[in-house]
Amino acid sequence: MKVLIVNNMEPFVWGGGEELAVNLQRNIIAAGHSAELLRIPFAYNPPENIVSQMLMCQNLCLNNVDKVIALKFPAYMIPHPNKTFWILHQFRQVYDLFDGRPEMQELKKLITKADNMTFSGASRLFTNSNITKDRLEKYNGIKSKVLLPPVNQPELFTGGDSQAYIFAGGRINEMKRQYLLIEALAKTPSNVRLIIAGPPDTEKDKDQLLSLAEKLEVGDRLKLDLGFLPREKIADYVNGAQACAYLPLDEDSLGYVSMEAATAGKAIITGADSGGLLNLVKNDITGWVVQPDAFELASVMTEAICNKQRTLEKGIAARSLWNSFGATWPKTVERLLA
């Protein structure tokens, strides 16, 4: 089968959605099919160009393609008679993030109508999380099935001997709140160490962490590995950690950082307001769910390091909970191509 994966592209930006598309392609090929990736440029700004970009997608033509797997708005509007949707998110600014601005009213109506038309004929409609599923049902009245994205290259996350550090991976920005972990570190005993690794979104995000580390004088217990790292390097950090921490604000999905931690059998520290992560992080079972403030975080970081045996048990529980979801690439490809 010739499968075309259709995704958006914001030129020069690479993130979780892009990784998912590339790994989907790789795994479709591994299942014995042909797969190519189509990335259609899309810019949120200015908003008055959104309608023309929907038309852009609707007027593209395809032949020599047996199946399309469509991932994002508005790329999923590309016409094809055999289209499977795996919706990572809709255009949230006119749905759950709608702010009521009058100039967005028209756009909201138009996008809702176009989305409804796009999905109405769909025989195969998946979403990447319960939250995306609920939104699609609430705003468009359309039912879908949840298909959790698997971990990419799970073979890298083997786990391993725990050293006395907590690892926080992923993109670094205000919403991911790595700065809270540094503030918390300052309140922990001297045997607690922290590694933060990943690409800062902006120079400001980077400077914030650097100056905080200096101000709180935690330099000797903190390692900052800032930048875009090879997957192997990230896996090394995860495999050697005693526990992992990930505190995004209201994330839609389980979060790759926490999924990779669970794959490696590591306990996870997260925030009570971290959204989709709470499906994977169960307090005192697979990790710790705390109020996102430095005091509470400091207390569980200390516990994670000082009570090693209990932490290891939680890590094993995290792995078995994740495995129970059955999100593997071979199964995912099978369901998408069925």
């Binding site: 592209m9 042909s34 190519e36 440029p41 810019a43 852009m56 007027n59 033509c61 032949n63």
Partner: protein, 345 residues
């Protein structure tokens, strides 16, 4: 610099402009630029042409991209203040092939209006570009003739050309490319029947046409050439290819009226081997000069046979032509340095 490379493609079909775009991407990355490749699908059907052009026109690229380089149509209509074109062909059925058997549209009043609208849209998009480059003189001439647009020829180089080298001269004329009707491997097989020396021929490559492959095989058999002609209808790996070029006596490349000189001509030149081509090969004639770096023959088996015999008999002359072929690359300034300098300056 942040550079976007924009082109059109047909899903699950290799070839077309993919080499030139992929190689430029690698070259720019090597030189420390940030590159994003934007490849959008295109279906070759006049009925869908304007819808698809509208799609490309609606592509919304941020101004923060320093340079947008567009290749295959309709990518040239993508708007951007810093657009440069490396234009490799028109939608030819509507241009130079209009009215020929390759044009699917009947010559009606409606079709003529359609063509006029396309030409004026193309011209407008071409005029937006900061600079227009082409891959051959013939494409530049067409741009002048149909769109009244001035352009500069920027010859596409080979990627990692230094891998090609001279090792020896065996007795083979090598024809290494896709095995298709319009590449005319059959002319060489027929020429072999007219040769008077022990010169040999090697044809290798994949094919989309089983009928043509069968025709070649039966020609070889008919002329009793199986001891002097090797025909491998298969994919040739990069390593094998380099070795074949390094060892052959000379290279043949005789497509029917192609726009560009073709990568086989460049591979031959980097391997210091003379090139046999024909007077009707199109862009190949921008590279090959008769009796200097090869032979430009009439597209006729006897003329080709004479050239092959000459190369076989006078090895020193063949060697000298091969050296000239290598120099011809410098003469035409076919290099990535020149490409990068031209596109980014």
């Amino acid at each position: 610099m942040k550079i976007a490379l924009c082109t059109s493609f047909s899903p699950f079909c290799l070839g077309g402009a993919r080499n030139i775009v992929d190689w430029l991407e690698l070259t720019l990355l090597e030189r420390g630029h940030q590159v994003e490749k934007i490849c959008l699908p295109h279906v070759d059907d006049p009925k869908l042409l304007f819808n698809q052009m509208a799609s490309y026109r609606w592509v919304n690229l941020p101004d923060s991209i320093d340079k947008v380089i567009c290749f295959r149509p309709p990518a040239h209509v993508i708007p951007h203040p810093n657009k440069v074109l490396w234009f490799i062909h028109h939608i030819r059925a509507m241009y130079d092939l209009w009215g020929s058997k390759y044009c699917p549209m009947p010559n009606t009043e409606e079709a003529r209006r359609f063509r006029k609208a396309l030409i004026s849209a193309d011209t407008a998009a071409l005029n937006e570009a900061k600079k227009v480059f082409t891959n051959s003189k013939v494409v530049s001439q067409r741009l002048g003739k149909y769109n009244n647009v001035q352009s500069k020829v920027l010859y596409p180089p080979l990627f990692q050309a230094e891998k090609f080298h001279y090792a020896r001269q065996n007795d083979e004329i090598l024809y290494l490319c896709r095995v298709e009707d319009h590449k005319r491997q059959h002319l060489l097989v027929e020429a072999m029947a007219h040769t008077r020396t022990a010169v040999k021929l090697r044809i290798a490559g994949v094919s989309g046409s089983p009928r043509y492959v069968k025709r070649l095989r039966s020609l070889i058999k008919k002329h009793g050439l199986s001891d002097r002609v090797v025909f491998n209808n298969c994919y040739v790996s990069e390593e094998e290819k380099i070795e074949l070029y390094a060892s052959c006596l000379a290279v043949a490349y005789l497509p029917l009226d192609e726009d560009s000189y073709g990568y086989p001509s460049l591979e031959a030149s980097y391997s210091c081997k003379p090139i046999i081509t024909t007077t009707d090969a199109g862009g190949v004639l921008e590279l090959v000069q008769h009796n200097t770096n090869g032979y430009v023959c009439e597209p006729d088996p006897k003329a080709l046979a004479a050239a092959m015999d000459e190369l076989y008999s006078d090895r020193d002359a063949a060697k000298k032509q091969g050296v000239n072929a290598r120099q011809r690359i410098e003469e035409l300034d076919i290099s990535w340095d020149n490409v990068v300098e031209s596109l980014l300056s």
